[in-house]
């Protein structure tokens, strides 16, 4: 059923008893053209674009838990396309363009809100860096503005403008950036894929990858039995190494935990997405009123979906030092997500050395904004066998060839990206 204002009115008159589940709960078939491992944002969007753009509908998405239980329901919901490097910027811009048309495209209210991102800088080097970033964006046809201190003050008057250590000197501003309701993204893609014939199989954990004598992948062993496939696509985020090992893949990935926080509901106070250049703190306000914020990784490798208190303290100290008014609000919840940190901080959308096995990983803590383009480019690769133009730098063998996409210039040290 198509959702519309009319359908809401019609269902209101019938007491809302006639709504159908947004997707089916099918039994797995013995064989699919494509199996996607991981029912997160990227796995679901891959299935959606495979069906919608590339006409491949005999597809299954296998999720070990329920849809939205992983990072797609555990992030700070920011979308933006303010990158520097050639390997990244066109990709994230495609993603932002897809976000802009997404709700009409998949007929689901994802609450896309282009409220703008303000990246603050606090010293000359920070200004130079953001000027360069803004220039790089404009070279790729993306609007950007470098704001002076007074312009920042007019937009966000509530910051600490007397900061002794990290005075606010200005900001890089991308007006088209913003936030999206993250759960709705998972649900919208799941529903859109399901409507086009994709089987979304929840509570089905992949336990092994079966290969024939030539090494070619022929299917997966799961907690619900063997399922055969022509092509196997991995989109397992923080569990990429674990799933990859089932096929003997050796990957440039470390799993780390990133925490995020939400405060009690407040009246509208923060109207943009704000990032603090003196630390790693970022914040926005959800439509429900909660302040959603986070900062750095916990720094040690982790598969636990929770972090430790020292990082909570550090995050909130950074926040209060930038926005003193935060000190009076109370934190309601904190949670952790497992990040597939790559060796250069940029993702991988590529084939592997194994026939029929495709890989989508390395999203670090920037995977949410990439959800539409990641799915689109991964589907393109699976359907056509060649990389999409904007993801052509995101190769698995780029480290070996010396073509890392190191946006932050930190080298092969994943906890610093």
């Amino acid at each position: 059923m198509r959702y519309s204002a009319l359908s809401i009115i019609r269902n209101a008159f019938s007491g809302n008893r006639d709504w159908q589940p947004a997707w089916r709960e099918p039994e797995p078939k013995p064989h699919y053209d494509v199996i996607i491992v991981g029912g997160g944002g990227h796995g679901l969007s891959t299935a959606y674009y495979l069906a919608k753009e590339f006409g491949i509908t005999n597809v299954a998405v296998l999720e070990k838990s329920y849809i939205g239980s992983g990072n797609v329901g555990r992030n700070t919901t920011i979308i933006r396309s303010n990158y520097v490097l050639e390997g990244n910027e066109p990709f994230y811009e495609l993603s932002l363009k897809l976000w802009e048309g997404l709700e009409q495209d998949f007929n689901f209210n994802a609450m896309v809100s282009q409220r703008g991102i303000i990246n603050l800088f606090h010293d000359d080097a920070g200004r130079d860096h953001y000027a360069r970033r803004g220039n790089s964006m404009m070279i790729h046809g993306v609007e950007a503005a470098l704001l002076s201190r007074d312009e920042v003050k007019a937009l966000v008057p509530y910051l600490n403008y007397n900061h002794a250590r990290f005075p606010v000197m200005g900001a890089l501003y991308q007006k088209r950036a913003g936030t999206v309701r993250h759960d709705a993204v998972a649900w919208g893609y799941a529903r859109g894929a399901d409507m086009r014939g994709v089987d979304i199989i929840q509570n089905c954990e992949v336990t092994g990858i079966r290969r024939d004598a030539t090494g070619k992948v022929t299917g997966v062993e799961t907690s619900r039995g063997f399922i055969g496939c022509n092509k196997l696509a991995l989109a397992a985020a923080g569990n990429t190494s674990t799933v990859g090992q089932m096929a003997g893949l050796e990957l440039p990935i470390e799993s780390h935990v990133l925490q995020a926080f939400v405060s009690e509901g407040l009246k509208p106070v923060i109207h943009h997405v704000l990032t603090y250049g003196g630390g790693h703190f970022y914040i926005s306000q959800s439509d429900k009123g909660g302040l959603v914020f986070g900062a750095s990784l916990d720094f040690f490798g982790s598969y636990a979906q929770h972090g430790n208190l020292a990082t909570v303290e550090e995050t909130i100290e950074e926040g209060v030092s930038l926005i003193p008014g935060l000190s009076r609000s109370r934190v309601l919840r904190s949670w952790g997500g497992v990040m597939d940190m790559s060796m250069d901080g940029s993702p991988i959308i590529d084939r592997t050395g194994i026939e029929n096995l495709y890989l989508n990983c390395g999203w670090c803590y920037g995977g949410f904004k990439a959800t539409p383009a990641s799915g689109f480019c991964f589907a393109h690769l699976i359907a056509k066998g060649v990389s999409h133009e904007v993801s052509r730098f995101m190769r698995l063998d780029r480290f070996e060839r010396g073509y890392a996409i190191d946006e932050a210039g930190k080298g092969p040290q994943p906890n610093l990206h």
Binding site: S241, T242, F300, G301, A304, A310, Q413, P414
Partner: protein, 95 residues
């Protein structure tokens, strides 16, 4: 939780005093083949469970340590000085 690390030189210390390098991997010989160096620099085992890691006690004795830890439960099994760990590894290899 890995909130406290028992440094063999300084005793039980909060983990914020340490900087974390990552998985213990043995450094190849300078003339080792390209493939070996590539794997040393870029490839990680990234196990879900027990892992040995290099930690640096930056705000303490400044010694490099080997911390054996569980990446799922964050339990710490043992901490040794990295030089002592290396010496025992070399000795084991010789035997």
């Amino acid at each position: 939780m890995a909130s406290l690390i028992t440094c063999p030189h300084c005793g039980s210390r909060p983990k914020e005093e340490f900087s974390i390098r990552g998985e213990v991997r043995s450094r190849p010989e300078p003339a080792a083949p390209f493939e070996t160096w590539y794997r040393y620099v870029y490839v990680r085992d990234n196990p879900k469970g027990r892992q040995k890691e290099y930690w640096h006690h930056v705000l303490g004795c400044r010694r490099w340590l080997v911390v054996e830890r569980d990446t799922l439960t964050h339990e710490v099994y043992g901490v040794t000085d990295a030089a002592a760990y290396r010496a025992s590894e070399v000795k084991e290899a010789a035997e």
